[in-house]
């Protein structure tokens, strides 16, 4: 679009501030997601043996830093810190599963639109609309009623329902790319299709989309598990998940016991924030490149 020179809305001072904020955001994402990953590795490979089931009946619902519990204890006298670390297991692998399903199939489906006619586009649009028509939580409840409450089913559903979104984004991107020279050139060069799709389209031109969608997918996995935990269909105790920790703790919130629920709630918030910021930063990078 042909734009005339507009007055800049921000002063230079603000630009510097902005840049610093951006850097801080990236740092924040790295720290949060890094620590989640560390927690996962530590507990997965038993680097430090943590017991999430040991109950201490003498100290039930204690605030942080009492009786040797760093973050206090929950309603059964279990150590909140240990459970917080081990709670990452509930999300990481199942979340990755959900994300990889949606990314893999979404990307494939989307890139197929490069060759396919209008009908495939229509299918993608329609299925996107289909997904918009039913709330995710409702589908999950249906699945739970028909099959059973299992975190992997939940993640499967999240993964599948995200496929159309990813596919839609990719196909839009392809629309923009379709007329670009390199596609014409590579088609003319008879570049193998898989190289064209995976390397030229998906890797060079769509990876930001994929990364941001992956981040959003992870965020959604966490969010859904939390909601389901409240409804009683999330990860079941004694296996810890942040969602069921908040749920269990919030039973005591109205009696004024804030600790045991707010600690996992804040953990959820910071991780969700990190994922969203990550997606945002990535999208911003994308836009920057585009406007050039």
């Amino acid at each position: 679009m042909n734009r005339i020179n507009k007055p800049l809305p921000f002063k230079r001072k603000h630009f510097i501030l902005r840049r610093w904020i951006d850097r801080l955001i990236v740092l924040y994402c790295l720290v949060v997601l890094g620590s989640v990953l560390t927690a996962f590795t530590i507990t997965q490979f038993n680097i430090i043996e943590l017991d999430y089931e040991a109950m201490d009946f003498q100290s039930i619902l204690t605030p942080p830093l009492t009786n040797g519990h760093i973050l206090g204890t929950d309603y059964l006298g279990r150590d909140l810190f240990n459970r917080l670390l081990l709670g990452t297991h509930a999300y990481l692998l199942p979340g990755l599963m959900a994300v990889s399903i949606s990314i893999l199939f979404g990307a494939l489906l989307g890139s197929l639109t490069l060759f396919a006619n209008k009908r495939l586009r229509k299918v993608i649009t329609l299925s996107t609309e289909l997904m918009q028509t039913t709330p995710r939580l409702v589908i999950l409840l249906l699945i739970i009623a028909i099959f059973e409450a299992n975190i992997y089913y939940v993640m499967l559903v999240i993964g599948i329902t995200n496929i159309p979104t990813v596919a839609n984004l990719i196909s839009h991107r392809i629309d923009i790319l379709r007329n670009k020279r390199f596609i014409e050139a590579s088609i003319a060069n008879a570049t193998p299709i898989h190289i064209l799709i995976f390397k030229h389209i998906l890797w060079y031109n769509c990876r930001t989309i994929l990364i941001s969608q992956a981040a959003l997918g992870m965020a959604e996995a966490v969010l859904m598990e939390t909601s389901l935990s409240y409804l009683g269909f999330g990860v079941q105790e004694p296996t810890p998940s942040w969602g069921n920790m908040v749920q269990a703790g919030s039973n005591y919130l109205l009696q004024g016991n804030l600790w045991s629920s707010s600690i996992p709630a804040l953990a959820i918030m910071s991780v969700l924030l990190a994922f969203y910021l990550l997606a945002e930063v990535v999208v911003k990078q994308l836009n920057k490149r585009h406007s050039l």
């Binding site: 089931e53 040991a54 109950m55 009946f57 039930i60 309603y75 059964l76 006298g77 739970i144 009623a145 059973e148 409450a149 409804l231 009683g232 269909f233 079941q236 105790e237 004694p238 269990a248 039973n251 005591y252 919130l253 109205l254 009696q255």
Partner: protein, 524 residues
Amino acid sequence: MKRISLTAVMFLSLWSVMTVSATTNTNTLIYGETKRPDTLDPYTSNEPSSLRLSQLMFNGLVAINERQEIEPDLASSWTVSKNQKIFTFQLRKNVTWHPYKNRREAFSAKDVIYTVKLLQHPKTVSARKDQFANIFKVEQIDDYQVRFTLKNPAINPIAIFNFKVLPYHVLKNRPYLNKKNQFANHPIGTGPYIFKRSNTNRQITLIANDTYYKGKPHIAKIILKPFSDNNIMNQALSFNNLDMIVSVSPRHLSELQADARFTLKAYNTLSYSFFAYNQNNVNLRKKAVRKAISHAINREEMLKAFFNNQGTIISGPFAPGSWAYNLDVLPDNYDPQKSIALLKSLGYKKTTNGFIDSTGKLLAFRLRVPIEKNNEAAKRVILAYKNFLKDIGIRVNIDFMEREKWKRAIFKDHIFDITYAQWSFDDSSDISTLFHSQYNMAWGNNFISYSNPQVDRLIKQSLSSTDHQEKRTINHRLHKIIADEVPYTFLWSLTQYAAYSKRLSNVRIHPYQFFDNVHLWKKN
């Protein structure tokens, strides 16, 4: 901008319409339940919430009030033959059924006879069929007289006639009764309150029966409000959105007791919690394994930590408030060393992962429990139980299930190793259906498939005995045997409390049926 203000005006007016239509009826009793009633008729559901409701809408021939007195209800008088086997009831003449298809039929002997017939039908599914088992035949003498003949004399023969009478004119096309029957959701009774509607969330509205034979109830309307969140229910009571809570969670007891606006009332003291062991499991069939489990859990500590010690630890299949409780039997103490020794003596080997049996398989059990979002106390017990068993080397996999699924698995199909539940009894403290091998069937109460000829014999003897002291002795012996056999790990008996606002007066709470003489209750 105009559009926005227009929509805003539209919605505000919508609200105001809703507000105007609200009629704040002060003469309404709203009570909160955490478990929704399954069905609304007196027979097809075995849940306390349904029982409470049927008490509001139905009458029996006789009633047993909270002071254990037999009162005439639909029967105004009766005579008993000398051998205590033939009962002739004179029925009331001024009783009408609730309106059905806008008509109020009169109550008569037909209804009584049909009820017995319906409940004795083999296809009828009801937990209360036992009550009709001893009825040999029932005859109509005239429109207002019926004669019952019992098979055997029993200790409280008159008590069985407190069964709720169903309307013949509504059910005449149905040879038997089950949950799918329309009647289960549109009950027609003779009681003080008429069923008005039940919405999808099972909020049930009942209105006063103007022609109730004991007189029109003082409270015009009763609403059962189901809550899916215990905390919220408690808040609702303390902020006057509710008049009554039928069961207060232990967590909220102190709060409510300190509040001068409410009365706390204990009821249903004859109940206890337990872990039940399926006898079809190869390992759990061994008594020593069950005994080892019972010794491995520290009940005192759990009771103190989870229930503020608001209960008593029990040793056998009766609640301590029952006449049948054998005070000489003491509960198994907490002794994990003894558990381990017991298991070792059976040939199980202890490894770092836990005990293994002779084939090298880990000793592991599947504990199936319903997902009880409200009942985190139960969850605590289950998780602590798992931990206690883990400490001695038995693995327990907890399988949380949706409530309906759980019921099916436990009571119908008996697919489980261990489960956790709670029994509640009326004053007869009758455990015959729990442990007699005859009730080892789909939807039978002996869902653990327990079978012990000695116990069977004692139960039969207890049921046929007409001597009070003999009955007590037999039940004390049953208590001893069952406590020793540990088909369940008996945990504790917790007192249930109802809380109600002081605006209600004349309230009487029946220890088992809850609503007693509800037509006399008042609200100011």
